[in-house]
Symmetry: C2
């Protein structure tokens, strides 16, 4: 198969972790007889440094004409980096938001998995973490407060800022269907999270999700208020299979869930559009404080590459091979610093990439 990939290494640890993911992909290509073509693109701070803006139209076009985008991470230290002296719509993160919207990436999949081997890193009490968990947050990514009209203006001499949270039934329906599709291949449970006791958008959300549920009689649907969900993720994450929610709630809950695993350096993510196209990136940030030291954990990015093979190319066997190689290095006791524990073998970013590539 020919895979035409756009690669956005980005800022901070981005280039280091993407390099390891490519190493693993190259090994897969060799072993399974695929042909991968990479096109490097600039986004975020790296693009600001060269073009003055975090994302150029040309970059969007090239990304669009690729089969999938592999990304590292975007942004720097907001307190010290000159990028954050720019107006908000020209900072690194604005590039990412624009790319999501331009590519129609409405479905953001964020798995939060407690790996048995890494249970010690889980911040929860042992009797809770003993149960293990493997949940998937399905976050709507191109609607809601992130993309509604906004304005800051004087009203009767008083500075006033307005953001708008809008959803229509089509936007809700397509993300709900994705969530039910995925739940159907997992443990067949969707928990839809909203604030229907306050928001009109949440009441519409709940109504449309209930309609969609009728198309999936074998998947169980429950509803939960967002404040309660923030509690349940701490109390008993094992209760969840797929959590379906809107953009802002998904931002908050997926970060909370990733921290509850205790090993963000392990968590992949996918952002998909209507077809097979997707952008794949680690859940964690650009971690500028540890950039360039060969200590970042590349596994989240490597697992994101596996998600790419699975969701954009239907290469399930190849994706499995990567995931099994990751399990194997963990079982053999290799760890980067962020997930290190007693009795394990500490390795750097490149060594971890090598170890996984060798086991593919």
């Amino acid at each position: 198969m020919n895979l035409n990939l756009a690669v956005i290494s980005g800022d901070g640890i981005g280039p280091e972790v993407v390099r390891e993911a490519r190493k693993v992909l190259d090994r897969i290509a060799e072993k399974y007889g695929h042909e991968i073509h990479y096109t490097d693109l600039l986004m975020g701070g790296a693009s600001i440094d060269v073009h003055g803006v975090p994302l150029t139209d040309e970059t969007i076009e090239i990304a669009k004409s690729s089969d999938a985008v592999l990304m590292g991470s975007i942004g720097g230290n907001a307190a010290t980096s000159p990028w954050y002296k720019l107006p908000a719509d020209r900072r690194p993160e604005a590039g990412l938001l624009k790319l999501r919207k331009s590519l129609g990436l409405f479905a953001n999949l964020r798995p939060a998995i407690l790996y048995k081997e890494l249970q010690d890193a889980c911040p929860l009490r042992k009797d809770i973490s003993d149960k293990g968990f493997d949940l998937m947050i399905m976050r709507e990514l191109t609607g809601g407060l992130y993309f509604g009209a906004r304005e800051t203006k004087e009203v009767d001499g008083v500075m006033t800022a307005i953001d708008t949270l809008t959803y229509n039934e089509n936007e809700i329906r397509r993300i709900a269907r994705r969530a039910f599709d995925i739940a159907g291949k997992r443990r067949k449970k969707v928990c839809s999270v909203d604030k229907a006791n306050v928001l009109d958008s949440s009441r519409l959300w709940r109504k449309v999700v209930e309609e969609v549920a009728k198309e999936y009689p074998d998947v169980e649907l429950t509803h939960m208020l967002v404040d309660n969900c923030a509690m349940q993720l701490v109390k008993d994450p094992a209760q969840f299979d797929v959590i379906l929610t809107e953009n802002m709630f998904g931002d908050i809950l997926s970060d909370e869930a990733s921290m509850v695993t205790g090993s963000i350096g392990m968590l992949a993510s996918a952002s998909l559009n209507d077809s097979k196209f997707g952008l794949y990136e680690p859940s964690g940030g650009s971690a500028p404080d540890i950039a360039g030291q060969n200590i970042a954990n590349p596994i989240a990015t490597i697992l994101s590459a596996a998600m790419m093979l699975r969701y954009s190319f239907d290469l399930d066997k190849e994706a499995d091979a990567i995931e099994q190689a990751v399990s194997q290095v963990l079982a053999e006791g290799y760890r980067t610093g962020d997930i290190m524990s007693e009795g394990c073998k500490k390795v750097g970013t490149t060594e971890m990439g090598d170890l996984i590539a060798e086991r593919v």
Copy 2:
């Protein structure tokens, strides 16, 4: 002193826990020579049952003319209660939102404290909970998405729902000042939480909070994005003193923080207006499943009564007496079922109220 209190017992366990708080207040009145006058008011489901609406104008007027409101809890089981067959603006919770707005209760104080005696209930790993924590979430309560314009309508034949998030500089300034005032009496740290990389309202929020910070040179201000805060509350809650945030973020984060303590049944809250007036209620919900069984924990409501004495009446000595009585019963090993652990003495709602009242 004469204390003229409005009492909203409300639904579920509300009446049971309020009864115990009154018991403790009566003991305080007797011991310190105060005169407390109670006026019982209906709100939420209890008001729907009698008046068909969750809050009448008359109730608002009586609440307004009182010195402070002591509340139990509002609402029932959304899946089974007939209250939830009503349109959204006539359900129990709508009464609470209307009361907050009518009384101008813009400052919601939600302490999240890990009690040493209850450390076993904390869902966090022991090395994290060993550090203990005592943080205060200051949530803006009468602005933002909760009270912005909202509408559901067809746009080009597609059902579309819109909610609006609005803040003006005055609304932000007054809640920020409250947060800095309170931090000044605590550990002198304010962490302001927003989503300034996306929202206009958050950028205005950050700007105004920074202006206010200049009035308080002895209090340290930091900023944190809401998704990061949801992570930090799980990873290291001890880092926080006062968390200052807008309405919806505060709803989510305060519930997360309360669950992180592991003992919601212990957590009080206060909602204050510009003057000394306030509404005081436990952080937890109405728990209809355990209502009427004399097993609910009344301590959150009793501690809310202590907050009332402190914030609305400046009766610090009396508030201290209640808080010390609570510490004492815990130290003596008395527990309601929700916070029960091995070797402790299990008591019911009324017994717990008696024990605390006796020790006041």
